[in-house]
Subunit: 444 residues, 2 copies
Amino acid sequence: MTAQSTPDVTPQNAPVRVAVLGCGVVGTEVVRLLTTQTADLAARVGAPLELVGVAVRNLATPRDPVVDPALLTDDAEVLVDRADIVVEVVGGIEPARTLLLRALRGGASVVTANKALLAEDGPTLYAAADAAGVDIYFEAAVAGAIPLVRPVRESLTGDRVRRVLGIVNGTTNFVLDRMATDGLDLDAAVAEAQELGYAEADPTADVEGYDAAAKAAILASLAFHTRVSLADVDRQGITGVTAEDVAWAARTGHVVKLLAIAEHRPADQDGPEGVQVRVHPALVPQDHPLAGVRGAFNAVFVEAEAAGELMFYGRGAGGAPTASAVLGDLVSAARHRVHGGRGPAESFYAALPVLPARAARTRYQIRLDVTDRPGVLAQVATVLAEHGVSIEAVRQSVQPAEAVARLVITTHEATEAALSATVAAIAEHDSVREVVSVLRVEGV
Amino acid sequence: MTAQSTPDVTPQNAPVRVAVLGCGVVGTEVVRLLTTQTADLAARVGAPLELVGVAVRNLATPRDPVVDPALLTDDAEVLVDRADIVVEVVGGIEPARTLLLRALRGGASVVTANKALLAEDGPTLYAAADAAGVDIYFEAAVAGAIPLVRPVRESLTGDRVRRVLGIVNGTTNFVLDRMATDGLDLDAAVAEAQELGYAEADPTADVEGYDAAAKAAILASLAFHTRVSLADVDRQGITGVTAEDVAWAARTGHVVKLLAIAEHRPADQDGPEGVQVRVHPALVPQDHPLAGVRGAFNAVFVEAEAAGELMFYGRGAGGAPTASAVLGDLVSAARHRVHGGRGPAESFYAALPVLPARAARTRYQIRLDVTDRPGVLAQVATVLAEHGVSIEAVRQSVQPAEAVARLVITTHEATEAALSATVAAIAEHDSVREVVSVLRVEGV
C-alpha cells in the first residue's frame, strides 16, 4: 500500500528510535517489516520509526541481506540506552531480563515476544514499566500472530472471562497431527517436526508442555486479573502419548490435542473461588472446532459471561506472523511516545488464589485390559460407582485368542483426585490385567 | 470475581460520568454490566464509572428492573452535556448523529454500536473527535462481541491487510442455515427468524445486505487506511436465493453464505491499485470453516501479509455480547480520561481509490437448463471460451422426460464483467432454455 498522504507526519514529530534485540527468524522479519514499510508505519505512528540497531550475540554469523550490517552490534546495553522502544526477540530468561529492566528503568518502552520470561518474572517487568510510566507490550508472546493478548486485556475488560481453552503450541499440534494422520509414533513425528524446522534440536520446551504452560500463565493472568506464573500451571506434556492412544482416540470419535486451559472457578461446596490453570493432552471430539486445527496452527476459545464463546485462530509461530504481532505492539507503543498516553498496565487487583488443577472437574477416558469372562464389566463399574465416578459410556472389544477384553470407559465429570483413586482401585482388581491409559476429555 | 484490592482507585480519581443513549436490548445489558460489576470496573479503570442517566424516547415503556427508573430521561441533550463518555446504542442516523456530534464537540468521548451511522458519515464523527482530542470507539458496530475492530486497527497496524472475508450478519446466516438444514424457502426461514427475535419486523436491512455492507465499509476503512462508505460497497442481499439454489449448493459440495469481502487490489495490467468491497451470497465449500458457522454466529477471516490468515468467531449480535464489546470500549475510553492518552484516531492516509467490484475476479457457478441433445455441452463450452472464461468443472444431469439437461458449470476466476457478457451470450444460444442461477464461489 502506498502512502499517498501522510497527514500526521509533521517535522516536529521526531523519529521514534527502535532497538531490536535478537536477529534470529523473528528478529529478521521484524527488521524486514520495519525497513520495507517505512512510509506506512510513519503515517500510522505519526512519526518515523528509526531502527537504531540490532543486537546480536555473534557479529560473524551470516545474516539475511535485509539486515544492514552497519546496524548490528554485540553491545546490547549500549544499544538499549539509545532507544525509545526496545523490541526483544531473543527469548530465555537472561540476558533478556537484565536488558529489559535496563530499558524500562531508563524510560524506554518494551515490546517482547518472551513468554518464558513473562511467565517466570512478569511482575518485575510490569512494576518497572509502571514505575517509569512506559509501556510493556507482549502480543507476540502468546499464539504468534493471533491477536489474543489485546482482545483479552482490552476488548474483554468490561466482561468477566470464565475460561480460556485452546491449542497454543504449534510444534506439539504438528506432532499430534502427524501421529493422527499417518500413524507415526511420537519419536518419528518429533523427528519430522525437527527436519521441517517446527521443532528445536532439543524439543523439551515444546513436547513437555513448558511453552504452552508459559502461555497459559500469561493468558490466565490477563483474563483473571491475578498473578499466575509458570510454577502455578499444572503441566503435562505429550511424551506419554502413544500411537495407540491416538489410534484409539480416532476409534472413539476423538482427536488428541495438547490443550492449555485456564478457568475461573466460583466458590462452591468443593472449595473457594479461584483460578485453575493446566496444560495436558486431552481427547477432543472430532466435530469440535479444535479437532480441525491442523499442522502448526493455533486456536483459542475464550468464554466470557456476556460475550459468550469466542474463537481466535491463526498461525501461532513463525518469523513473519510473530513479527506482525511485534509490529502491532510497536506501533501502539510508538504512538504513545508521539501522542502521549500509555497502554494498559498490569491488572492483578483480583488476586484470586491459584487452585490445584486436581480440583478441576473433567470427563475422562480410561482404557484397560481385563480378563474376558462374564461379570468383569459389572465389577469394574462397581469400583467406579463406589468412588462416586459416574460412567457415561463403555465400549468393550474382545480379543478371544488372548482371552482379554479391552474396556474403554468414558466417565462423567470427576476431579482428578477422585479419578486417580478410582484408577488405583481398578488396577488392583483381580480381573484387571492393565490400565493402559487415562486421558481427559475436553470440549464437550 | 471479587475485587480483593483496588490499588488504582484512589480518592483523587473522580468518577467517570457515563451516559447511555438507548435502552433497548443492548442498552439494558450495558446498564446491567455497569451496575453489577462496579468494583471490577473501578479497579480496571482506576476510577469508578458513574452511570449518570439513560436516555429513552418514551419514559412510559416498561423496562427491565436492572434499570433504575430514576436514571431514565427523555431529554438526551441535557444528559449528553452531563457526561464524560456517551454510549450510543440507539442506532439509525438521526438523532444519533446530532447527539454524538454534540457529545464530541462538548469534549465527551463516544462509544457507539451504530454501524449505519459510521458507514454513512463516520468521517464527520472522527473529525469531531479529533478536533476535541477525545476518543470514539465502536467495536460493537461490527460482529457484536467478536473483537475485530481492535485487532484490525491496532494489532495488525504494523502489517498489511490484504483481505477481510466473512459472515458479519447473523440474521441472514440463520436464515440460510435454516434453508440448508430443513429445506425451507426464504420467506419461511425469514418468518422463523422473526418469530425467534433474530430478524426485525421489517427485515430489509438484514436480508438486502445493508447491515453487512455497513460493517464491510467500516472494516475496509480500518484495514486499508482509506475512507469507505456504505455507498462504496457493491451490495447484493439474499432475497434472490432460492431453496433450489441452496439444495444445488449441497449437491455440489457447497453451502450458500452471505459474505462481506473487502480486498486490497494491487496495481496490475487490469487496472490501478485500489480497494474492492462487496457483499453478496456466495457458495462456500462444505469443508471451509465458514461453512460450519451455524445459526446467528459470525466469523471473519483477516488475511495479512506477515500474519497470514487469522479467523475470529463468536456471537455477532444479541444484547449481552454486544454490551460486552461496548464495555470493553468504555473501559478503554475511561482509562484515557483517568490516566491520559487517546485511542487510535481515524487513519485514512492511504486514500486508495475504491474500485468497482465488477473488477473483482472470482469463480462462479452457473446453472442452466439446455436441450438434451448431443453437442450442447460443447457449444456452451465454446461460448465460455470465446469470452475468455475458463471452465473448472461441468456437471450434467439429464431429465429425460423433459428432454432437458441441467448443466452446472464451475468457472475459474473471472471478472464480473466478463462473466456477465458470457452469461448473456449463453442465454441467447439456441440450445439454452434458461440460465437458472449465477452464484459466486468463494473460500477456495
